[in-house]
């Protein structure tokens, strides 16, 4: 099947997506685009490559979780790199279309996200577009049904947040926990008559606090991003693999950086449009991840497939290695 999934992300917390650093300050990634009159403008956009990488990670983690049963399945480094990062090209495996087909059949995750296996590059089946903010500059691109403020410039949707990194080693209350630092520093100590200048220099260097204040430009909470993911030639199991990746990501629905301090939290509404058909609700991600019928059925097919595969792996722990290595039975 061919079609697309349109996603509307609503930012529940500020979004950090760094494009440039100047000193301790970081600025949002912007891109050149065309406005309604066809003139170049620079607007914030959330990279399609970042989204794709994030969903690839979730899809691989989901697959390994299912295949491992109750335990987390651990795999060799080469395979980890292939599933989570797309692998690399190299080695002695020659181009073998039949083998490429078998890999696609046996590892739907790899089939949709693509990857380098030996000397072969398996193209993925997804085209993950950029997250474009609903704003004045891009109002001519965003479909009319997408909510958001089309009057406001994307520039007005950004703000700056500053943080401090404190050097706790210089905190007198915490110094007792520091080896050789048990005594609080007391200023105004009696000076020795002839201080050693070298020692003084070393001391000064050692005592200089390692702390900083840094500022991040972020996209504001409440802003809306619109995004399209196109897919081609997907079978139902492959669509299920994509739904599974989204469902796994929905366990902690964050985009961008600084998630550890609560940034980039989103809710998302995904619509499916098969080629030549109308749009229909597909996945809703809020406090819970709700799958519409088509998404649920596709994911069930994929789960069924993975369960069978897990059974096969129970009997043959090398099965996955062999499938990738081109030694699987035909």
């Amino acid at each position: 099947m061919n079609g697309k999934i349109e996603t509307v992300f609503t930012l529940l917390s500020p979004l950090s997506h760094i494009g440039e650093n100047i000193g301790p300050n970081s600025y949002l990634a912007t891109q050149d685009m065309l406005d309604a009159e066809g003139n170049p403008i620079s607007v914030f956009a959330y990279s399609g490559n970042a989204l794709r990488g994030m969903w690839r990670d979730s899809g691989a983690a989901y697959m390994l979780g299912k295949l491992g049963g109750n335990a987390t399945l651990q795999i060799p480094l080469e395979m980890f790199y292939l599933f989570f990062s797309g692998g690399s090209i190299g080695g002695d495996q020659s181009i073998d279309i039949d083998q490429a087909r078998r890999i696609r059949d046996q590892i739907p995750h790899l089939s949709i996200f693509g990857g380098g296996v030996g000397n072969m590059l398996l193209p993925g089946k997804l085209s993950v577009g950029e997250g474009l903010p609903v704003c004045r500059e891009l109002a001519h691109i965003i479909p009319d049904n997408v909510q958001g403020n089309r009057e406001m410039s994307a520039r007005q949707m950004t703000t700056e947040i500053s943080y401090s990194r404190k050097d706790d080693a210089k905190d007198d209350l915490l110094r007792p926990f520091l080896q050789d630092g048990g005594l609080p520093q007391i200023e105004g100590q009696q000076m020795t008559l002839l201080p050693d200048p070298e020692q003084e220099k070393k001391k000064e260097k050692k005592e200089k606090p390692q702390q900083m204040r840094y500022t991040m430009e972020v996209f504001c909470r409440g802003s809306i991003l619109w995004q399209e993911t196109f897919f081609r030639d997907l079978c139902e199991i492959e669509l299920g693999a994509f739904v599974a990746a989204i469902a796994k990501w929905a366990e902690n629905p964050c985009i961008g950086g600084q998630n550890r301090i609560g940034m980039g939290r989103v809710k998302a509404e995904m619509m499916l449009q098969l080629f030549g058909e109308e749009k229909e609700p597909f996945i809703t991600i809020g406090e819970k991840c709700l799958l519409a019928d088509k998404a649920r059925e596709a994911k069930a097919r994929y789960d069924e497939f993975l369960e069978k595969y897990a059974g096969y792996l129970e009997e043959n722990r090398e099965g996955l290695n062999l499938a990738i290595g081109g030694k699987v039975e035909k």
Partner: protein, 221 residues
């Protein structure tokens, strides 16, 4: 077969390409293969042997003699507004690695500065183009059917670059399909004259007109 003008209206205008040739016969060939011979697109090939090459049966007029044949289809015409070097990144994810990698008897160390697992920050040449036009001699309805499947053009389509918002096909009074590489023994360079254009063994000595309508010439101005 009629002279036609085909226009791609770009969504954000962003397209990744180094030369701006963007031959439409190549884009149509890829689509034709995905319909009639999807198996050859299962894997990206760095070369194809002459006896394994599948030539798409495009709804375009064939021109030229013998092995110098080519499709009556121009290279992209249009005026790029700006060139921008974008970067894409590939990073090894250590936090997921600690959870999922079984190092076995090997040392649990991954070199991300060189070798197989190297992290990348790759530059990518992109252009901003509101629309691109091609001139062909072909069958309008069949061309439209092939175009209806094509959502992206250029490089890095997987990252959403080269998104086409709309295609139009219209009859054109003039045949401008010669705005392309034409085989010519006195030509300027060896280059592809038909898809797949990257396939070096079928390159020919060819001449590309210095016509200002061509997007590749606009870039050079």
């Amino acid at each position: 077969m009629k002279p036609l003008k085909i226009t791609a209206y770009m969504q954000t205008g962003k397209i990744a390409t180094t030369d701006l040739f963007l031959p439409l016969d190549s884009i149509l060939s890829n689509q034709w293969l995905s319909i009639h011979h999807p198996e050859v697109l299962e894997v990206t090939q760095s070369s194809i042997k002459p006896d394994e090459l599948i030539v798409a049966d495009l709804p375009l007029e064939k021109r030229g003699e013998g092995d110098d044949w080519y499709w009556a289809c121009s290279f992209a015409c249009g005026e790029p507004k700006r060139e921008e070097i974008k970067h894409w990144h590939k990073r090894f994810d250590f936090s997921l690695g600690t959870e999922h990698i079984d190092f076995g008897d090997r040392r649990g160390k991954v070199d991300v500065k060189s070798g197989r697992y190297k992290n990348y920050r790759m530059p990518l040449v992109t252009y901003l183009v509101p629309k691109l036009e091609w001139y062909v001699v072909g069958k309008p309805i069949e061309v439209e059917v092939l175009l209806s499947y094509i959502t992206h053009i250029g490089k890095k389509r997987s990252q959403g670059l080269g998104r086409v918002a709309k295609w139009t096909v219209e009859k054109w009074p003039e045949d401008l399909s010669h705005l392309r590489a034409i085989p010519d023994p006195n030509g300027d360079m060896d280059m592809g004259i038909r898809p797949p254009y990257w396939l070096a063994w079928q390159w020919k000595r060819a001449k590309l007109l210095e016509d200002r309508r061509l997007a590749c010439n606009a870039k050079l101005r």
